[in-house]
Amino acid sequence: MNWYEVWTTLWPTLIAIGIILAVVPVVGLYATFVERKLAAAVQDRLGPNRVGPFGLFQAIADGIKIFLKEQVIPTHVHTFVYMLAPCISLMTAMFALCVLPYGPTPTNYEGGLRFVVMPGLDVSLLIMFAISSLSAYGIILGGWASNNKYSLYGAIRSCAQFISYEIPLGLSVIGVILVAGSMNIETIVASQASPDGISHWNLWWQPLALIIFFTSALAETNRLPFDLPECEQELVGGFHTEYGGIKFVLFFLAEYTHVVTVSFLTALLFFGGWHFPGVPSEVTSSFGLLALQMLVLLVKVCGVVCFIMLLRWALPRFRFDQLMGLAWKGLIPLAMLNLVFLAIVESNHWPRWPLAIVSVLLFVAGGYWSARQASLSSKKLKPVLI
């Protein structure tokens, strides 16, 4: 084996892995800072502003504090699985980043520096969903190993929510795959290129798929309004109960990594990735162009992340039966119907603009149907608190 050949294919991978390993923990740490500042802005107060200029070093202070905390392992837990669970959570969250392009990547990659760890995979979207589904293991193992019935209860609820919302997540994305013709994320982004930069974004043709995908992704990451398994730990239990210090931070970091991954996916699949009016669509190796395209992508991702954080303070949370009802009775039928219409349009090679109208009509019909179901079931009397 020619070591020189191995090295020429290995060094871009190593650099890309290095960038992810270096950036993701820092981004997770600063996401906590941004969350605190955003929460403060929404609640009419200043956030942390003492530790550095505008409080920017607060995240570093938090990181140092976490590393210096005492590690308490209760004696009643199953120690090996207890230590393994947060590692599994974080490992699957970061593994899913290996197929995610975090910068402009060409569809025909030859060599040299690139912004994705594994380029040119034809099923990269499928790999991403498959690996991030494994993060359910971290939750259920954490709840089980804690040897605490409330932890187990919260973990089971969280798992049920997770696997229920996997289905509409996949179904809504199939629409995007059909339009682009490939499961390769780079191909999907390239199919959203257009002369004016904005007219071929997937969100114009499939707004319903965007709504379903975003809602399911919020439920996957246990963010509000779907954080009943998490808020239990503010009240009683949840799978985080017996964890403290660095183990808890690994769970926390896994959650923020999932949030960032999902924001990247939303920006890449629905908002056109690095395409924008005024920015050239081809990915060449000119440094200025690459930087501009990466900036466009990062601005979109930050916008989605801030929107997710804003939703936390703008919405009340779902009750567990409402949450499961939304997934199984609301999102899955809507996603399947969306897929049926899209398949009809694509197989007959009709123009795509009616899809937007069909999406809106489906959404309105879904709302009407669920209101009708609710009014039919409310004719039964239920016991009320006096």
Binding site: A41, L310, L311, F363, V364, G367, S370
Partner: protein, 216 residues
């Protein structure tokens, strides 16, 4: 609520059926079932607060908060126009105090001093343990001559327990500082001192009543 015995106007109903009320759940309308208009409304409220409302944080210690009027902070002993202490050692505040933190030792006013001619008694010592005090304001309400008042000083600190037992001079100095600064004017300005401070016609050579608490 409802009767406990089984015999009632509707024979055959169990107790559980009698105590449970049945009602219909409120209906969800079409617009609410869409969820998105409500979500948009929620996000609009959040963004309005984030961008257009002023922050209400007070950056302590660079900015100090304003205390409302009648805030109950550290005590002071008031002086009258001639600079004498207004307190006549009537023990109303010591009796009213729920925490037993005031100790007074009364003394007859010095008769040879022309300034003290129309006063009967005055406090020789007046001690308040600021750490025992619960800052309820009962002493201020009880005083008939408006001698003791609670100021708006909230940031009282000390390095030892002994330091926080304020004696008469310290309390009078609190008066001097707060009235000079103009922040806490004397609130209870009833003009002349009440009848408790007038010299009584009979002889007052009786010894002062025994004080309560461990110093008395």
């Amino acid at each position: 609520m409802s009767t406990e015995e089984k015999v009632s106007t509707t024979p055959g109903k169990t107790r559980k059926e009698k105590t449970v009320q049945w009602g219909a759940e409120p209906k969800i309308g079409f617009v609410e079932a869409l969820y998105l208009p409500a979500i948009a409304g929620g996000i609009a409220t959040a963004l309005k607060h984030a961008f257009f409302k002023k922050r209400s944080t007070v950056q302590y210690p660079e900015q100090k908060p304003e205390m409302p009027p009648n805030y109950r902070g550290v005590h002071r002993l008031n002086r009258d126009e001639e600079g004498r202490v207004k307190c006549v050692a009537c023990y109303m505040c010591q009796t009213a105090c729920p925490a037993n933190c005031i100790e007074i030792i009364a003394a007859p006013a010095p008769q040879d001093d022309p300034k003290w001619q129309n006063r009967d008694k005055y406090p020789a010592t007046f001690t308040i343990d600021e750490l025992r005090c619960i800052y309820c304001g009962m002493c201020e309400e009880a005083c008939p001559v408006d001698a003791i008042e609670l100021t708006s000083i909230y940031d009282l600190t000390g390095m030892s327990r002994q330091e926080m037992i304020f004696d008469k001079e310290k309390l009078l100095s609190v008066f001097d500082e707060t009235t000079k600064g103009g922040l806490d004017p004397v609130r209870t300005n009833r003009g002349l001192l009440g009848p408790a401070s007038e010299k009584s016609s009979e002889s007052t050579d009786s010894p002062p009543p025994p004080g309560r608490g461990k110093h008395g």
